[in-house]
């Protein structure tokens, strides 16, 4: 008999453990990369999944906080041995985490959530707003064929191109850009204040990127949202052929994800978003993380982001 509350990505494989911090280094303004030793977790976790983290033996804050997999760390012999997460200091846990030194311990449970599906993409466009860039280094490597994740390792057809559109408040908040560039993917930057890259929103970058890939169309960041690429035969299905094999994945502030979802829907490009709903347990028992998600018939229902997400088809979200 099956549990009616059971989700496909229930935390059945998750393990709770006390882990040792190996590194905690600053990457950018208020942004740190934390590395902790967790071989079993590192073997299991896939891009887009997350872990819940607490300071060991500390009840303030009481509840764990979700952080996405940034990357796994391999031993010299190529075995996954540690996990990297990258966090932005915004509140209680993250500000305490910033003071943690190597050798200190954390309570961690994971891997949690569904992760990004390994669906084939000819061109994978990753759209990141602020700290929403964290799930993408691992995903990029998986689609480039340079790394595998999961136990047994999941197979992902290699993408022809991988592009990152990364928007931040200002240049000093941009974190891990070198990590992405080292992978050999196209990195396009925008900042709200123009201190680096395109002066404007990351959604502009997506518009530009799509204009670049579609030869016949004239899409400019100023007009493309109201003016989708012109249709030659008036058939919206035609648009799909304008972006064959393109897939958009997105993580960041809700408003930005909603915009990216709209753009993708308009251009009939498959799009998945990773929601950053606040979570209390991460394992499906508290219902504090619900989001409005539509079913096949278009009706929405509350779904638990931690076990039925955090990655959802963008068109299913009732923004």
């Amino acid at each position: 008999m099956t549990n009616p509350l059971h989700a496909d990505h229930y935390a059945d494989r998750a393990v709770q453990q006390r882990v040792t911090v190996l590194e905690n280094v600053q990457l950018a303004r208020d942004t740190y990369r934390l590395r902790f030793e967790a071989p079993q977790l590192a073997r299991q976790i896939v891009p887009g999944q997350f872990v819940m983290i607490r300071l060991a033996g500390c009840n303030d804050p009481l509840l764990g906080r979700p952080l996405a997999l940034y990357d796994t760390v391999l031993s010299p012999s190529g075995e996954p041995i540690a996990i990297d997460v990258v966090y932005l200091v915004v509140g209680k846990l993250t500000s305490r985490l910033a003071k943690v030194s190597p050798g200190q311990t954390l309570d961690v449970w994971g891997p949690l959530g569904n992760g990004f599906p390994p669906t084939p993409a000819e061109h994978l466009i990753m759209v990141a707003g602020g700290i929403g860039q964290t799930p993408f280094p691992a995903l990029a490597q998986e689609f480039l064929g340079s790394r595998t994740y999961g136990s047994p390792p999941r197979s992902v057809p290699r993408a022809g191109r991988v592009t990152l559109c990364y928007g931040a408040r200002s240049a000093d908040y941009l974190a891990g850009v070198e990590d992405f560039e080292r992978l050999g993917i196209s990195v396009r930057i925008s900042t709200d204040d123009g201190s680096q890259g395109h002066h404007g929103l990351v959604t502009d970058l997506l518009g530009l990127e799509l204009a670049r890939v579609s030869r016949e169309t004239d899409v400019t960041p100023q007009n493309w949202e109201i003016n989708p690429p012109p249709l030659q035969n008036g058939d919206p299905a035609e648009l799909m052929t304008a972006y064959p094999g393109t897939r958009v994945v997105c993580c960041g502030p809700e408003k930005m994800m909603e915009q990216v979802a709209k753009i993708s829907a308009l251009l009939r490009i498959p799009c998945q978003v990773s929601l950053e709903t606040p979570m209390a347990c991460g394992i499906g028992i508290c219902f504090s993380c619900v989001a409005k998600v539509r079913d096949e018939s278009g009706n929405w229902d509350y779904k638990r982001t931690c076990v039925e997400g955090p990655v959802f088809e963008a068109e299913k979200i009732a923004w």
Binding site: M1, T2, N3, P4, L5, A11, D12, R13, A14, V15, Q16, R54, N59, L62, L63, G64, D107, W109, A280, C281, I283, G284, I285, C286, F287
Partner: protein, 272 residues
């Protein structure tokens, strides 16, 4: 979550008797904190979906299912109890008369007469063991417990969440959408311990202790204060495998007091 391997258990009897309900051990999961027992009442699928989909599944998991119910008023509590009657799979029913649902302007769990009325009505409507779950947000919890016991409750569970509040003073705004909300977890343990102690002295029926329990020391404190069993709520959120660990640690803790069974320590507090 995967469960840790069971530790070698000492020869201690962990089973407890909650009125007519016998449990293999005294550690339970609190309502609303297991994604399961929270399935009845207002913000959920309702009793019909529960009986059709959830209860049959729960009956297969190998642990007794205590169904927690909440009604908008006394009649709704009784109607749900009547519906539960005769359904295999429910080992007992816990009446959540401690949620802030209002009946004629008075909270059912804050007035001894109303509390007695609900319990007596449910008692008449179903033959399952009845547990009355009480709110700490009252002046004298023992009076309410006594009213529930006299009306036929098989056991009392206490406490539900304490009313609390959080404020962002810089913005002069409450942090909770409803301004005030239910406080749970380690912060309320002393309040819960006091409530259990007072209730256990006021009634003859068993008491289930709830509130901030997270460690084996917490469990033992509640047993000694007078609880026959305990429920773990919020700790399941921040220590998912902790409840199972408590079960492993219990025999050794009981043995430290020279106890052969849980009953040997229940209510053994020595007040100088």
């Amino acid at each position: 979550m995967t469960t840790p391997p069971p530790a070698d258990s000492a020869p201690v009897d962990l089973s407890v008797q909650l009125g007519r309900l016998r449990l293999p051990n005294p550690i339970l999961v609190a309502s609303g904190t297991a994604g399961m027992l929270n399935s009845i009442g207002l913000d959920n699928d309702g009793i019909d979906a529960f009986l059709e989909h959830h209860l049959p599944y729960l009956a297969t998991v190998g642990a007794p299912t205590i169904v927690s119910i909440a009604g908008r008023d006394c009649d709704e509590f009784i109607a749900i109890c009547a519906q539960l009657e005769g359904h295999a799979g429910a080992a007992a029913v816990e009446l959540n008369i401690s949620c802030p649902n209002v009946s004629h302007g008075v909270d059912l769990g804050t007035d001894p007469a109303l509390c007695a009325k609900v319990v007596a009505g449910c008692r008449a409507a179903c033959s399952l063991p009845i547990i009355a779950k009480l709110t700490p947000n009252v002046t004298n919890i023992a009076t309410i417990a006594k009213a529930a016991a006299d009306a036929g409750a098989d056991a009392i569970s206490a406490i539900n969440t304490c009313l609390g509040m959080a404020i962002d003073w810089r913005r002069r705004r409450p942090l909770l959408g409803n301004v005030v909300g239910g406080l749970s977890g380690p912060a309320i343990k002393p309040i819960a311990l006091r409530a259990v102690y007072q209730i256990a002295r006021a009634v003859k029926i068993p008491v289930i202790g709830i509130g901030g329990i997270a460690t084996i020391d917490d469990v033992m404190e509640f047993l000694v204060a007078g609880a026959t069993a305990v429920q773990i709520g919020t700790a399941n959120f921040y220590n998912p495998q902790g409840t199972m660990a408590l079960l492993d640690q219990l025999p050794a803790a009981l043995a430290m007091l020279g106890a052969k069974s849980v009953a040997d320590v229940v209510g053994t507090l020595v007040v100088p």
